[in-house]
Symmetry: C2
Subunit: 243 residues, 2 copies
């Protein structure tokens, strides 16, 4: 799929894009870049001059704490704009790295600002993207602060599986989720050991199975009720649900 198609598919999930918008988006010149597993794409403090769209693979945003520990903030799938904030904020307050191999396309701020002024619909669609991002962050606050143990992991798994489905990453009841247990811990604010034990619980209760970077949902209804998952905050059109 061409970069602009990945971008358009995502925007169309929530925003009306007319043919003239499509044409304008297809005229954007973008620079492709392949990222190796774990590679930083942008670092805290950077002042990017372009904004990236994920084309293939998964990217992650993270903070680095005083101790050097990492706090992952969100995962990003194809069509996502992991550093859109750079368009309007002076510096990056967090870093963005690749989880596994990934492909991104960078579009210069200059081009984007121009298209935003000429075609406000496109600006509003990207703005909407950033607002959905914010909704996902809010949900993470609630998940990491208000839910314990298995529920926290279950909710996270639901979100990732749900989002993966939209971008065609999910086959039936499984999707890639190439995080180690350590990284899951750094995402969910738990220790590696706790993650390991809760994952075993999820396996034993036949709710979900995470192994070798792959999430298998054994029972969506179990997982969703464990994690109190309600996808409203993702503000997407709902795909077929599963039982």
């Amino acid at each position: 799929m061409a970069p602009s198609d990945v971008l358009l598919r995502k925007l169309r999930y929530h925003s009306p894009i007319d043919p003239a918008d499509v044409a304008a988006i297809r005229r954007l010149r973008c620079e492709m870049r392949e990222l190796t597993p774990g590679e930083d794409f942008v670092s805290q403090g950077d002042k990017p001059k372009a904004a990236a769209v994920v084309i293939e693979g998964i990217l992650a945003r993270y903070h680095t704490l005083g101790s050097g520990a990492r706090q992952y903030l969100a995962l990003h799938y194809p069509g996502d704009w992991p550093d859109a904030q750079g368009l309007f904020l002076q510096h990056m307050d967090h870093s963005v790295c690749a989880i596994g191999r990934a492909l991104v396309c960078s579009i210069s701020h200059d081009q984007l600002m121009k298209i935003f002024v000429e075609r406000p619909t496109i600006a509003f669609a990207v703005w909407r993207e950033t607002l959905i991002d914010a909704a996902i962050f809010r949900e993470s606050i609630t998940n990491n602060s208000g839910r314990h143990g298995v529920a926290r992991i279950a909710h996270f798994f639901c979100e990732q599986f749900y989002r993966a489905k939209f971008v065609g990453f999910a086959e039936d009841n499984a999707c890639p989720l190439p995080l180690t247990q350590t990284e899951l811990g750094e995402t969910l604010g738990m220790s590696l050991v706790s993650i390991n034990r809760h994952l075993q619980t999820l396996r034993q209760t036949k709710a979900a199975d995470h192994r070798a970077g792959k999430l298998t949902v054994r029972s969506w209804s179990k997982l969703a009720s464990l994690g109190e998952f309600d996808p409203g905050y993702l503000h997407q059109i709902v795909p077929a649900s599963r039982g």
Copy 2:
């Protein structure tokens, strides 16, 4: 201060607003509404037709968990747009309530969309507002997930004091923070009892004192280092610091 002045002061902290923009903003018609302490301004599920700017007092956003418990997500001071997401997202994924008495002015989405198309600078300034919001959410993920005990509270106090200074809420070394200990717990993902004990630690170490809805910073440097506070994520111009 007139509503448009509150709005303009905030936008100017981070965005260039020219005289024509100012004139356009002053022409916006807005509906003032006074909120009683604790009153919900917007509720989860609502589909607002206007966006509000805080004029006086403090508002808070919160999620309601399955158990009925509340998770506060962020506080909002004069000039903030607590429900700007309503401009582009179909429904509210969280609620907004008043903390103490508050005054808000609502501007219809119709007027805002019109001004955004005519004067993109204003759209970009409000977009920037929402991106700063998102940065604050990210920091909350990190704070609530990655910091423990006193550090978590200290960081939260630093942020609130810092933001309060910008809107003229802070007198020298104190600012209003009219949250009960229960509400602090619901913000920081801790129990009331833990909050109470950590607050005592902060008092005893002469870092900060929270009493009767007022935060007194006894030693900014102690508090900031305890909470690993770096205000970069607020993306504001830095006011005078204190020792």
